[in-house]
C-alpha cells in the first residue's frame, strides 16, 4: 500500500489534488434529506460510459455492410473470447440506460427541480433523452437481424404520416426509398460518433450548469 501512497503524494505535491478530492468526493456536502434517487443521473452517466467502452470493443469486430454485419456479430459472439459478454453488456446497458434516464427524469419532475433557476437543465435533459432514444434506435439496426430490419422499417415509416413532407423525410432518414446498405451505413455513423459526440456536448453543458446552480433541496 506504501507504493500507492507515494504515487498519490507525487501528484499531490505538484497539483494539490487533495482539496479537489475532498471537496468533490470524500468530504462532499449534500443535504441531509437527499435519498438514493439522487444517484440516478450519475448512474445514467456511468452506464453511458460502459456503453462507450463496450461499444469500442464491439467496433473492433463489427463490419457495417449488409452482407457482413450479421456474420461479424455472430463471429464476435461465438468465437471471440468473452465476445458474448461484451455484446450482452452492450445490449443490457442500452435498456438499462433508458430505464435509469426515465427514473431520473421522474425524480426531477416529481420534486419540480426544473423550476427557476434550473430550466435549462431540464431542456438539455430532454435533448439528452432524445439522443439516448435515437442511439438505441440506430444501434438496434446494426446487427442486421430480422428484428433489426423490420423494427427499423416500421420506425422509419412513421414520419410518412406527416402531410406533404412526410415521404421526403422518410427517404432522407433511409438514404433511399427502402432500408438498404445505405441506411445501415448512415445509422452506423450516427450511432458511432455523431450521436455520442452530440450527447457528450450536451452532457458537459448539463453537468456544468448543475455544478453552477448547486444541488437543489427536495420539497
Amino acid at each position: 500500500m506504501q507504493i500507492i501512497r507515494r504515487v498519490y503524494d507525487w501528484f499531490d505535491d505538484r497539483y494539490q489534488i487533495t482539496p479537489i478530492i475532498e471537496k468533490n468526493v470524500t468530504k462532499k456536502q449534500v443535504p441531509r434529506t437527499l435519498g438514493w434517487a439522487a444517484c440516478l443521473g450519475g448512474l445514467s452517466f456511468l452506464v453511458f460510459l460502459v456503453q462507450v467502452f463496450t461499444g469500442v470493443l464491439l467496433l473492433m469486430y463489427y463490419k457495417p455492410q449488409p452482407d457482413q454485419a450479421w456474420d461479424s456479430v455472430t463471429f464476435l459472439t461465438s468465437n471471440v473470447p468473452m465476445g458474448w459478454l461484451v455484446q450482452r453488456i452492450h445490449t443490457v446497458g442500452a435498456n438499462l440506460m433508458i430505464v435509469l434516464v426515465f427514473m431520473h427524469m421522474a425524480r426531477i419532475a416529481y420534486y419540480k427541480i426544473f423550476r427557476r433557476p434550473r430550466e435549462l437543465h431540464w431542456v438539455s435533459g430532454v435533448v439528452l433523452l432524445m439522443l439516448t432514444l435515437t442511439l438505441a434506435f440506430t444501434g438496434y439496426l446494426l446487427p442486421w437481424t430480422q428484428l433489426s430490419y423490420w423494427g427499423a422499417k416500421v420506425g422509419t415509416e412513421i414520419p410518412s404520416a406527416i402531410p406533404i413532407v412526410g415521404n421526403d423525410i422518410v427517404e432522407w432518414i433511409r438514404r433511399g426509398r427502402a432500408i438498404s446498405g445505405e441506411t445501415l451505413g448512415f445509422f452506423f455513423s450516427l450511432h458511432i460518433w455523431i450521436l455520442p459526440g452530440t450527447a457528450v456536448l450536451f452532457m458537459l453543458m448539463h453537468f456544468m450548469m448543475i455544478r453552477r446552480t448547486g444541488i437543489s433541496r427536495p420539497l
Binding site: 470493443l57 459478454l85 461484451v86
Partner: protein, 143 residues
C-alpha cells in the same frame, strides 16, 4: 479524533480491508474479460478446420454440421460427397434431406433442391451454397 478515542479501530480496519478487497476483485473482474477479448485471434478455436470422418455416413444419407457459427449439411450421394450451407437461400430455414426422394426440401416454404444443390422448384432464386472442402484419409476437411 482517532479510532482509539471512539473505540472502533477494529471496525475501521475491517471496513478498509473489505472495501479494498472488493475494489480489487471488481477491477480484476473487469480487466480479465477485456484482456481475453483483446487477445490474439490465432488462439481462437474457430480457426482450426473441421474434420468429419466419412465412414459413419452411408450412401444416400446426410448429416448436419456446425462450423464457425454456420450450420452445414454433408451428403453422401452416388459415390461423391457434397457439403452445403444448410440455410435455404429463400429465408434461411435449414433444409432437410429426403433420402427416399433424393432431394433436399425446405420445410418452411417448400423449396426443393437436387443432390447437387440446384433448384428443382419452390420460391427460391439461387441454389444451395456449396462449401469448399477436401478429402484426406477418409475424412472431409472443411476450412
Amino acid at each position: 479524533m482517532t479510532c482509539a478515542n471512539s473505540g472502533n479501530c477494529g471496525r475501521r480496519r475491517f471496513c478498509k480491508t473489505a472495501i479494498t478487497g472488493m475494489t480489487a476483485a471488481s477491477a480484476a473482474m473487469v480487466t480479465y474479460p477485456v484482456a481475453a477479448f483483446l487477445g490474439l485471434p490465432e488462439r481462437l478455436e474457430s480457426n482450426k478446420p473441421l474434420e468429419v470422418p466419412l465412414d459413419l455416413l452411408q450412401e444416400g444419407q446426410a448429416r448436419y454440421l456446425e462450423f464457425r457459427g454456420l450450420q452445414l449439411i454433408l451428403l453422401s450421394w452416388s459415390d461423391t460427397v457434397n457439403v452445403f450451407n444448410a440455410s435455404c437461400p429463400h429465408l434461411g430455414c435449414n433444409v432437410v434431406w429426403e433420402s427416399a426422394e433424393g432431394t433436399f426440401r425446405c420445410p418452411c416454404h417448400g423449396a426443393v433442391f437436387g443432390p447437387d444443390g440446384t433448384v428443382v422448384s419452390g420460391p427460391v432464386s439461387a441454389p444451395l451454397q456449396p462449401v469448399p472442402f477436401e478429402i484426406q484419409d477418409g475424412k472431409a476437411i472443411i476450412g
